[in-house]
Amino acid sequence: MSKYLVNLKVNNIPVTVEEGTTILDAARKLNFHIPTLCYHEDLTVAGNCRVCLVEVAGSRSLAASCATPVSEGMEVLTNSKNVRSARKNVVELLLSEHNADCTKCFKNGHCELQTLSSEYQIGQHLFIDLVKTKDKIVDISSPSIAKDDSKCIRCQRCVRTCSELQAVGALAVINKGDHQRISTFLNKPLSEVVCTNCGQCINRCPTGALTERSYIEEVWDAINDPSKHVVVETAPAVRVALGEDLGFEAGERVTGKMVAALRHLGFDSILDTDFTADLTILEEGTELLTRLKKALVDKDEKVSLPMFTSCSPGWIKFIEHMFPEYLPNLSTCKSPQQMFGALAKTYYAQKKNINPKNMVCVSIMPCTAKKFEAGRPELRDSGYQDVDYVLTTRELAMMIKQAGIDFMKLEDMEYDSIMGESTGAAVIFGASGGVMEAALRTAYEIISGRDVPFTNLNIVPVRGMEGVKEAKVMLKDVKPEWGFLEGVEVSIAIAHGLANAKKVVESIKNGTANYHFVEIMGCPGGCIGGGGQPIPTSPEIRQKRADAIYAEDEGLPLRKSHENPEVQYLYKEFLGEPLGHRSHDLLHTHYKPRKRY
């Protein structure tokens, strides 16, 4: 249905837009920038911060441009004297309730409110400081997220993120008037509520009210300690986003520069989570085939299908809280981060003759939930905490800046072996649909002896930003040992963002959907849109990162996990076979039900 077109003037320049367009978007079409704080492209409109006020001819009061649709003949001024003075007042009022301790703030230099007050040259405060002392107590109960109410401007982006994108609702608006604050059920600490630690709220917080718990100093200490061997692993999605915090445009691939920077920072072994992503495919693929065999051949009714992927720690905590009855459906595979940690302190330590006691394992992740995951008591199968510190992409960028490294001019370097080799199948773990695609590339070949029936191995139906994707793969002319799969149509689904995950699980629960294998990533777009990635985030930025991931995959000589020579060597030298005894000890785990309320 075509929409009516509306003609209006913004700053005396005529523009034609579709009916329903907001003044904000109409102005952006003409490249007039209107500042915003509560507005975010990923979220519904709230219109509560009032910094996007504009003057509309004939209207007595100023209008919030993010929440006002255009109308025929409208005349809008975005920079009149009235607008400027009102906007300045709004910023001053917000600052009167904001702990503007900017030099000591984690977000110093990345804060939208700080940028606005600099643009409007807010000098001396016009209004008295109303920050409550009790709000200055920061909630650091969670190992992933720090919540500082004294910096909160109550724009509610986090509240909308938590309920609209993630269907969690751990954060809500509590009380009213000057007592209003963003808080949890009965103001409990974040560690005691349904929070999945996904960090999407951090990505959208315009100030320093929500930030990651930072472990930069601990990592510097480890690097500077000569008795420690510091191993670092980098997740697939970091290499396509790190550049954004260091001077590059979104979508720039900086894999080689990142490795070089890590070497300059002083890490002793620079290895790749992609290696264990490939390993995950072999373990998880075998697990899926085992489950299918049990269901189809042995007619075992207790086998849990569909099988859910288990790479995303935000998703794991979500299902533990919301759908504990589906925990048997989760793959028992640890996430690539944790497989890496368990192997670093056993296999790698053995081969390189390092005492695991003196090894510190640091992982660079696009994720804040990984910080929580690393501390799970069940993930210490190496005899030590498998992964010691988790840094976000943002924290790594900060360390690179602290070290005075001119990142943009670095020469590319290569990962160390024997846990640094990876394939294109591992890289795409970073985008929604990637784990599924990697699994299909390997599983299809194991079963049939042929490549997946898609041009150039690109399984396009599982890619893209649609919230829930479904596909079916027909298995034909299979190898004799997989005869039981002949003619079976494997039904798969992919969801990203926990609101979509909830939809998929509910459709399984009420019987409207029937799948064999489901990939779920906690964050919108998958790990490329993770809670630890550079800020800002938007659909456009996530698309660019995803494009970069698939370009990285196409550029690699090996694109199927089972072809990874270092993974093959690992099985030959150390693990034996997928789902073997040693794999079971080191690479698989269990989950625990948690309370939803």
């Binding site: 969690v168 809500a172 309320y597």
Partner: protein
């Protein structure tokens, strides 16, 4: 099933499972139990498929939806400007004297909770207080004492 759970279930079957039923369900609980316990809010969240924070957020917006235990009789003295000018401070002092509690507290026998409230809409007849759903305008200290003693008498019988 606890009595609170039964109550929530009854209210939800009366008002339905949509989000719109949240307010009447909350009010129903407060009417019966005088406040919303953690347990009650969790049952409501479960029944209406809302997050517990969402239920608490809604409850905390409304002064008359308490989330801490309250006495059998809740006294709310209007604290806004008209009642202030006609002597609400004296009324509060009187109440604190008789009840032996401060504003915000509940008597030891759980019979009374003393609170203040924003404008009750009786500016022309201040100072005013509300005991449960009953309005008492044009208060004086002695009149206040009489009224409260009446409630005390009813409680002992």
């Amino acid at each position: 099933m606890s009595s609170t759970e039964t109550l929530v279930k009854d209210l939800v079957s009366k008002y339905g499972k949509s989000r719109n039923s949240l307010m009447p369900v909350l009010q129903g609980i407060v009417q019966e139990e005088r406040y919303l316990s953690e347990e009650a809010m969790i049952f409501i969240a479960k029944e209406l498929d809302l997050s517990a924070a969402d239920v608490y957020g809604t409850a905390s917006f409304y002064t008359f939806l308490d989330t801490v235990p309250r006495g059998k009789n809740i006294i709310r003295v209007c604290k806004t400007i008209s009642c202030h000018m006609t002597g609400k401070d004296l009324i509060i002092e009187t109440l604190e004297d008789i009840l032996k509690v401060k504003v915000g507290q509940t008597t030891h026998d759980k019979n009374f909770t003393l609170l203040t409230a924003n404008c009750l809409g009786w500016c022309h007849k201040g100072p005013v207080m509300l005991i449960n759903d009953e309005v008492y305008p044009e208060l004086t200290p002695s009149r206040t004492t009489e009224i409260v003693e009446e409630y005390m008498k009813n409680a002992t019988h």
